[in-house]
Symmetry: C2
Subunit: 217 residues, 2 copies
DNA sequence: ATAGAGTACCTATCATTGATAGATTCCCGG
DNA sequence: CCGGGAATCTATCAATGATAGGTACTCTAT
């Protein structure tokens, strides 16, 4: 779906992938300069020494280009998250994880829009690309369970907090850090709330659902 | 800015405004059907018995149409917020306010996108339209101070929580209420956090920076 | 009543967009 | 050296937002 496949990975395949990467890079540049939806295929082609129809040898359509960018963006996100040294202790790691996410969002606004806001009419990531998104969600879920948080409602609340930080940072202070530096307080707030609810439910019902967890911080 | 002004409010003015409203309604319809960025002026014109160039008697450009929709959307939001009966007690009222916001977002996704996410390349609300947005922000600020919350950081955190709820609801469960019904818990979480921080800062430093405020609830 | 002004439309046309068809060039294996 | 396929081109399409200029209607002032 994403690309028109090279039938076999022959010697040409490498050159092709190089060019493919160049196109993608140019697409990101244009998206940042003119807006995600304002990418012009002619402009894009010109930047990689091609004519506009030749792009269709690499992408089936413009939406397919967006799909490739979507996958590329998630690969970048996964790289960032995985490359980051995980702190000792699940909760400090969670704080770092959130801060990393907000920073990632602000580092490239159009990338954030493409990955997390459905803004391009008609665009829907292919299953292959969406798998990368799920991979990321799984990582986030693991970090939460490691921090002793479980339950669908808690996951939803957490995702809302993180999304909100990113959203506000991107929309109201692009390039700044007004909400980036709220990552710590926000996670603190969230975890305190989880604890609070667990404690109160524990007093009412003597069997706490979650196993007791260490409180670091 | 928003519209090409009727030089005088003559008898025709009324008809003109009627038609103007019709165009706007049709624009919302098309936005919901095809996506915000995919509105076709020819299609839009056809739905109000006009030819495409005639729309330029009502809007200077397509971006200007978006500006009119932006203002219209905020007027709707202000109407909803003001029409809602305010509960007794600032904090229950705040919960209601948040729930109302999330509901408003899900009720019309493209409207949410236009008002709160900068997705249309080149679009920036005119100062007149943006004034409506500020009006809304002011209302939210008032509700917060009424609930005993102050400080820029708290406002930012609050806005992030609300935005996050809307964002996730719209993106991941459009039409549902997975995050709508988290409005209550989220506000509770937020207020508990504010209280917690105030309490701890009060014990450490006997002079709280913010003037003491009544703690209701 | 009627000329003039001005509004509200129209048709015709433009440049640009994403997309397709078909010809051409280039490279590599036989 | 030559045939096939990949890569790219030119030419063209329909649809888009925008502009120019003309036409019909309506109200006002003489």
């Amino acid at each position: 779906m994403t690309t028109i496949e090279a039938t076999t990975t022959d010697r040409r395949g490498q050159r092709r992938e190089e060019k493919w990467a160049k196109i993608l890079a140019a697409a990101w540049f244009l998206a940042q300069r003119d807006g995600l939806a304002a990418i012009s295929l002619r402009d894009l082609a010109g930047r990689v020494e091609l004519r506009q129809p030749s792009l269709y040898a690499y992408f089936e359509s413009k939406l397919d280009l967006y799909d490739a960018m979507f996958a590329d963006g998630y690969r970048q996100l996964l790289d960032v998250v995985r490359a980051h040294p995980s702190k000792t202790g699940a909760r400090p790691a969670l704080v770092d994880f959130v801060r990393l996410n907000v920073q990632f969002a602000t580092d490239d606004i159009v990338r954030f829009q493409l990955l997390f806001q459905r803004t391009i009419p008609g665009f829907e990531p292919s299953t292959a690309s969406y798998a990368l998104a799920l991979e990321f969600v799984a990582i986030a879920g693991d970090m939460l369970t490691a921090a002793g948080v479980s339950g669908a409602e808690n996951l939803d609340l957490f995702s809302a907090v993180v999304a909100g930080l990113c959203d506000q940072q991107v929309a109201n202070d692009p390039g700044g850090d007004r909400w980036v530096c709220l990552a710590g307080p926000a996670v603190e707030m969230f975890l305190a709330d989880v604890d609070r609810r667990n404690a109160s439910s524990a007093t009412r019902a003597p069997k706490p659902k979650q196993p007791s967890r260490e409180k670091q911080r």
